[in-house]
Symmetry: C2
Amino acid sequence: MADIGAHGGGRRVKNGQESLGASPGMTLAESLRQKLEGAIAAGHLEPGSRLDEQEIAQRFGVSRTPVREAFRLMAANNLVELRGRLGATVRSIKAQALIEMFQVMAELEGLCARLAARRVSQAWGAEIGEIHQRLVAAGETGDIDVFYDINQEFHEAIYEASRNTFLADQTRKLRNQVAAYRRRVTRMPNRIADTVREHEAIMQAILAHDPERAHSAMRDHVNLLGDNLLDFLAAFE
Amino acid sequence: MADIGAHGGGRRVKNGQESLGASPGMTLAESLRQKLEGAIAAGHLEPGSRLDEQEIAQRFGVSRTPVREAFRLMAANNLVELRGRLGATVRSIKAQALIEMFQVMAELEGLCARLAARRVSQAWGAEIGEIHQRLVAAGETGDIDVFYDINQEFHEAIYEASRNTFLADQTRKLRNQVAAYRRRVTRMPNRIADTVREHEAIMQAILAHDPERAHSAMRDHVNLLGDNLLDFLAAFE
DNA sequence: ATATCGATACATGTATACAAAATGGCACCC
DNA sequence: GGGTGCCATTTTGTATACATGTATCGATAT
């Protein structure tokens, strides 16, 4: 340990350590949060797995303090579970909790769609149409990862179109919480074709300025995804 | 500072320090979070006011570390704003954001009511009826603080009755976020009478197992409160 | 007199040191 | 042979020390 400068600032990256990927003006805790949340969403950190403060601190070449603070920050987003002195774990969501979360998410995304139907301009139609075209293309190519990303774009566009930033934030957060589980389901048999069809219904309702239809189309879409996800998980346990 | 034991554990409470009110097995950061969140909800800490790490640490006789962690935890609940090195402040919510939050809250509480209408048993009717009776009594006495607390109990009972713990948590969190602003509105002219009447409509719809009516009654109730709150704030600015 | 620059003071971010609780393994007893 | 209690290790919680960025205040120049 003698080769690490006395105290404080002089951090430096030794071989074998991961970089925090440029964080100008950002605090270490915040950079760590982004890195770790990305790893969770991408599935590199499995739900239920333990997060070791020291290990992570060493891996990124920082002290335990910013790591701990990042854990607290992630606990705020419900991505990490803090259990007193028992340590931090990647939040593992039980099937029952997933059902509950999808019920809420269906309602929130439905509200996004309803508000969007009331508020979108004509110009927005071109934008969402373009996203949808790319989704269809990705579906035909069969490139699952690209499809997943464009799918996310589609929903994101509707969040924004709701013109309610708080609602958009809230919905995004919830989406992130189940991201680790969702990703697995994109590979199910008819999921891609169904998604394209459901998105079309949602899009039409919004562009027709029909709030109720937009709401129910979106709610059904999310609920169907939830059902698929549960079927998928059931096959494993 | 010489009289504070060398390092670590030996914490002790000197005169003039506030106690953290018995926290057996709980960590200091968690105790602090509860204390501070309570102070925010009660309005003792005004929105926008700066939270000084050292001052709070000294006030409760702990070091800066648990104070900082409590801030991170509260940031998770959107009660505190962290602005890099510029310090932490009690989150101040602009009118626009309040409108957005009430729109979401109306939907979430509405969902609670809808699910409750589908799921409540007969026994629950007695429980909610008893709470409502106490609310009416408090309304007649005119004891605003008691009224506020019982009002909260009423809503809490419906959260629980939804049998969706995630939804209940989410709704509670949102309620806490606007608590500092809500409390001020209870004192408005007809608010108490209106609240009692609206609660009756909600209760009847739930007990009649009419999900749609329960949903809209609750949504209207929350929206009306939001409107009142905005009127109230507008009078000040 | 006002505006700008610089030095100082202070608050936050980060690292390390110490204390205590929890996990795991071993010995001992039933 | 299995279970229970004790000890060592490991990991978290907390306190303090140090580094760095921000703000404040005063001096100087225009």
